[in-house]
Symmetry: C2
Subunit: 243 residues, 2 copies
């Protein structure tokens, strides 16, 4: 099965959660908008996909994954569909429901991360909402980071099957990969805040390190396919938001 991913070519963003799953599994995929226009890529290919009404339902926003005759949007939805095919989720229904539940909670957290620099509106520049971004980030650092990371830590601790090494079941799943990305993103955007909470979430820190060492992920992270974090993405390093 060859996958086609449609996502913004210059940021990690929400597409990165899908890229990590594909890379970890060694799946064959094309990151369409990163190809040249000559090769049928570029942002115009992404825009064309967004304007279409493919099956089953037109996407509202990227990431979008094309898989045979299916075109799937919404990050957690994509992961839920591809994970069984990639061997990245346990087979039983309860574990799959639990994995998806966790991924949706990660999605909620990611939306909150985005709004730390865009609390008034995504259509305005960050520079036009800096005081509000500072106010929102202050609460985000003091309350939301500890609350979410504490929650994920408790989920790891409660997963006796894996002795706290995996979010769901006995083996690595897409949720582990997404938790890695959350930790990496926070280390980039909120290094001081993360440092303050790190001692309280040792299982998450250890999980991040283990995921980084997985063969597919380690190869990916040092390849040109891994776009560096930058100030167009969701996790942005604005020192004034991490005091």
């Amino acid at each position: 099965m060859k996958f086609k991913l449609y996502y913004w070519p210059s940021i990690q963003g929400r597409g990165e959660f899908v890229r990590l799953a594909l890379e970890d599994a060694g799946a064959s995929y094309v990151d369409v908008a990163r190809l040249s226009q000559k090769e049928g890529g570029g942002v115009s290919a992404l825009m064309a996909m967004l304007a279409k009404h493919p099956s089953p339902v037109r996407p509202f926003a990227p990431p979008i994954l094309e898989m045979g005759r299916l075109v799937i949007a919404q990050t957690a939805n994509i992961l839920q569909v591809i994970a069984p095919r990639l061997g990245l989720v346990p087979a039983d229904e309860a574990s799959r429901i639990g994995a998806h539940q966790l991924q949706l909670t990660i999605a909620d957290f990611v939306a909150e991360v985005h709004d730390t620099h865009h609390p008034i509106g995504a259509s305005l520049y960050y520079e036009d909402q800096k005081p509000e971004a500072r106010a929102r980030s202050k609460l985000f650092r003091a309350q939301r980071i500890p609350k979410y990371l504490g929650y994920f830590e408790s989920v790891l601790a409660a997963n006796k099957k894996s002795k706290g090494r995996h979010a769901v079941g006995r083996a690595s799943s897409y949720v582990d990969l997404s938790l890695f990305q959350v930790m990496e993103g926070l280390a980039y955007a909120f290094p001081k805040a993360l440092k303050r909470v790190a001692k309280d979430v040792p299982l998450l820190v250890a999980l991040r390190d283990r995921v980084a060492a997985r063969p597919g992920i380690a190869a990916y992270l040092t390849s040109p396919r891994r776009i560096p974090f930058n100030e167009d993405g969701i996790f942005r390093r604005y020192p004034e938001l991490d005091v």
Copy 2:
């Protein structure tokens, strides 16, 4: 199958999307936190559930649905699991993926609605973030309501199978019920903004009216089980945010 729903007893909130599905299907369910403490209900019962580590994974937040031995959180996740059992989604995989994709986009919209009155932080009172709420709501009314409703309208229009009468497939699904709730919520919180856009989304308006007339929903809406919209929920009527 008897369902137990755990959600805040005094608001519609995100739990309402689950209530609507259960009510439309005539399912047997208990809205646990709305029972008295004597009956094992109240907010304390909800809090006890949030503190537990049930199977498969501890919930981060309500709504939570208990179904036999499964305890499921995240609104869209709950709906995805119960819909096949309630006859509220087509049987084929593509339609289910599409329905879930739409529900996740509705969830994104609902999160944006919440942040119109809480742009800086959910832990602060609305009164402590009123100027920011006005700024965010202005963009929300001008850009986000037309964008989301225009998108949902285009999905209805593209669903030739139902001649624009349903979001997915040939019959009513949980997505139709959720779109009804979105339209009802906007009519309560942003009546002026909705009026401006209504003429551009005739299929959505017609869908809302048809859902309201479905027997299970019509009975529910006039029952004491339907909590009125209020200023503790997600859709809040603050006239200064709808000018």
